[in-house]
Symmetry: C2
Subunit: 523 residues, 2 copies
């Protein structure tokens, strides 16, 4: 059994070859746009005819990134993908597609139209995810805006407004009004740590008044920021009634948080999506990997021999053997534990630490885009029912039909996973019609997907849990190679569930390997 390259050895390697800046360098070659400093694609040494064989286990986005980049540098790559498709949790459902959930296989019955698709896994690209965006550009994947926050979408809680959904903007406007009053009081009455000049205090109070739409004396008495009850164009607008804070406080804390904060963090604007479906990114990669991907190839063994590594896999009832200089592996570690390999014990122990999320998503094709008639164009409606969210598609605007996300349970506690497909559909309808009365009548061709039961994955995003010293050690162990074997994927990142993390993990591993190749070549 070979010994993993230690962190110290790696640092020595890097020192010997010019430092990490030369490796984790600049995207480059991305057309006319100057390369980004946050792009992480490594400047791999081109092999120039030297033969290096790489086997990539799994056709998730980290595996495809690896095959694509190493292919450009002259490596001979093979991707072994167990499923009938690449992409892993980057998956788009369209007319006729198989949902390969164990015990619940479905064929998607959406109408066969370009705008009728469902991104049942990855669904959003934040604008800070530079590597994903760079690949979209490089691979010719057209992007459009994804609408996450829409103040005209709804909030539903049985305790709020007698169970009748409220517009997000009606809650947020009134909540901010009350908050503004609190700030005003806080500023006026409390002893502040910082002394403000009169000019500063005046400015701050002006900003607070603006924030809450307060009167000059710091009182909130309703606002027209949430639109008029009627009129506004030809006749004067009639202000909506002010909503008392106590009525708003009947809502679930999580929902109030969503109303105030959906605009923050990783899902803050701007978010994007590929026009026509998230898997256009996968297709962008696979177009470049013609003949290099083996589908229905089940990995049966991975054995590092110090100077090479060999991989066994089963396909069409036969066992195959590949020899490689390096192996990159995005098979979920909790599945890899069950596959024969000669990993060191420390590595194997670490593999067992990565738990997996149990996200559930469901969607309906809707016969009519009834939400647009309620002035909702894209965005999320929040509810504290188990479905949690409804996503209104913006794409296909003003067309007849649309595919709506009808449930997104990322907590795993809702019981959707234990239901049959029919029970899930009924639960989605029952909960959905509490928000939109016409929901059941409009819904057709429902799909449901429980990621922890999806074939060849058996889990959603990696979950490391709290980064205790022990977990930190395990993480470091798995980030380092075991001999010539590298783990990649969002499982080897600090921000699981994002394509960007999976891609950066592949970049990191390739940069590490590149150092070894350069060292061997004496450059």
């Amino acid at each position: 059994m070979s010994k993993p390259v230690s962190r110290r050895e790696f640092l020595n390697l890097i020192a010997a070859t010019g430092g990490v800046a030369t490796v984790l360098g600049i995207g480059g070659a991305l057309g006319l746009i100057p390369a980004s400093t946050s792009a992480s694609v490594p400047n791999l040494m081109a092999l120039n005819g030297q033969r290096k064989r790489v086997v990539i286990l799994g056709g998730g986005i980290s595996g495809l990134t690896t095959a694509y980049e190493l292919g450009k540098a002259g490596y001979d790559c093979t991707v072994l993908e167990a499923s009938h498709r690449c992409g892993g949790r980057v998956m788009t459902l369209r007319h006729g597609d198989l949902i390969d959930e164990i015990g619940n296989p479905q064929i998607c019955q959406f109408d066969d139209e370009p705008h009728l698709y469902f991104n049942c896994g990855a669904a959003r690209i934040p604008s800070s995810h530079r590597n994903v965006l760079n690949y979209c550009k490089e691979l010719g994947v057209e992007l459009e805006m994804f609408i996450n926050e829409n103040k005209h979408a709804l909030v539903h809680d049985p305790e709020l407004n007698g169970g009748k959904p409220m517009r997000n903007i009606d809650i947020s406007t009134n909540l901010k009004g009350f908050m503004g009053e609190l700030m005003f009081k806080g500023f006026s009455n409390a002893e502040l740590d910082q002394p403000f000049s009169d000019a500063e205090a005046e400015k701050l109070l002006a900003v607070i008044r603006q924030f809450g739409d307060l009167n000059a004396d710091g009182r909130y008495a309703g606002s027209s920021r949430n639109g008029y009850a009627e009129g506004g164009f030809i006749s004067d607008g009639v202000q909506r009634e002010m909503i008392n804070i106590r009525d708003l406080l009947k809502a679930d804390t999580g929902l109030l948080r969503s109303v105030l904060l959906e605009n923050e963090g990783e899902t803050a604007p701007m978010l994007m999506q590929p026009t026509g479906g998230m898997d256009n990114i996968i297709k962008g990669f696979t177009r470049q990997l013609d003949g290099k991907i083996e589908y229905h190839a089940m990995v049966a063994g991975v054995y590092d021999h110090g100077n090479m590594v060999h991989v066994l896999y089963d396909k069409d009832g036969e066992r195959h053997r590949l020899e490689a200089d390096y192996v990159f592996n995005c098979i979920p570690a909790h599945l890899m534990v069950g596959i024969d390999a000669n990993f060191p014990e420390e590595y194997r122990t670490a593999m067992k630490q990565i738990r997996r999320g149990e996200a559930f998503k469901g969607a309906f094709q809707m016969k009519q885009r009834f939400w647009e008639d309620e002035e909702i164009y894209g965005g999320i409606t929040w509810t504290n029912q188990p479905i949690r969210q409804i996503w209104y598609p913006f794409h296909g605007l003003l067309k007849q039909k649309g595919v709506m996300l009808a449930a997104y349970d990322y907590g795993g506690g809702s019981g959707f996973m234990r239901m049959t497909h029919e029970e899930r559909i009924e639960a989605m309808l029952t909960q959905g019609e509490k928000i939109h009365p016409q929901y059941r009548e409009m819904a057709e061709h429902g799909v449901t997907i429980a990621w922890h039961r999806m074939n060849h994955m058996l889990g959603c995003s990696a979950r490391w849990g709290a980064m205790t010293a022990e977990n930190e050690a395990h993480y470091n162990t798995l980030q380092q190679p075991s001999g010539r074997h590298y783990f990649i994927g969002d499982q080897i990142s600090r921000k699981a569930a994002w394509m960007e993390s999976a891609i950066q993990s592949a970049h990191w591993a390739m940069a590490h390997m590149d150092q070894r190749v350069r060292a061997e070549a004496g450059v």
Copy 2:
């Protein structure tokens, strides 16, 4: 001289024919989407072969709406447009287009590509502007999202951060942190008007902590909501430094307001724009009005004779005369004052009350979309320099070039109007490069437009000023017809500058006329 129909007479007419609900009714016939209750298009009585001639003065969007709707009902319509184009302040500049500013005519030099255009007038459609959206659907105008707010865009003030632009999200996150602290203090220390139960108080404090990203004890110490200074995917994210409130308060109050509130009111999400340019709406109308529009037709006189109205206009050096049953007029009232007409004195006095905005807009074609390399995708950068705003185009994402709004002075106080074209361009460059160092190098083919000098318009949106009793009376006078003459356009609305207002004014006037036609017909 004929007497205008009074409000009372109009109400009597309505009472006689079934009430306003039958008139200001439902959009209907908009395909499969149920008609909206907020659509204002009137249910006009079809003429069924009865001949009624209507002359429409001005091919702005209210005039085109009138010609389109009356045409559907069987009216014989002619639009007299003084300019070479319809649309008025709905104007899109592309390669080769004339900017007909008096004393500053320009031909737009943008490259001839579909994504290189500039909406130099109307540029945003709020999702609550139902009539605009309905016409887009009805006329086959494809829509896409317009990105107004982008927390990754910048804020610039010479007093703030030593004049170096800051990201909007860095200001808003830290400002909210301080505001959260104030609320916490306000809640803890001040006497509240409403007594809260323990559960309510706990919930409110939780929401406040979430709002500001505060510690459990109500303190703000920085946040990761504005992204990490580095890392976050493969390595742990490093939090950005907290910014002191006193440093933020160096910014202009208006800028701080923009940071906190650009998400509110009429320009709150969702905003839309026609794919390819705002004037696709105009083209949508004019496609339906083939042969009904006279261009270069200068109205010279409007004379109401009680049973008909006649219009004089000059075209190709000749005077023409048209007789009509009704005239709808969207010529700006302050220009109409100078055109011969037999309006009653009260009407003429009211016309003189409508002032006009002096908005200025400028744009550059940019050689590269450098903003996307700074992770800015669409949205607005705010500055307290005279240019006020920079708008980054989202359309054309990842292409090489883009057309950027480089100045938008809606206040009229900046002096841009009094500059030559060359001086304006230089001012836009000088101010722009304070925000983006590469600005001057990247900018090409600048266009500038001062709306109060635009030929045939001589002003931007109507400005009624405060609605004093006197102005209210004038408004009512002009909303009512003078005999068979109706004023339309955003000048006859409570929310000038929006296409929706112009359209609703046309709907209102047509509904009024329809009542008269029905009364005459005895139905």
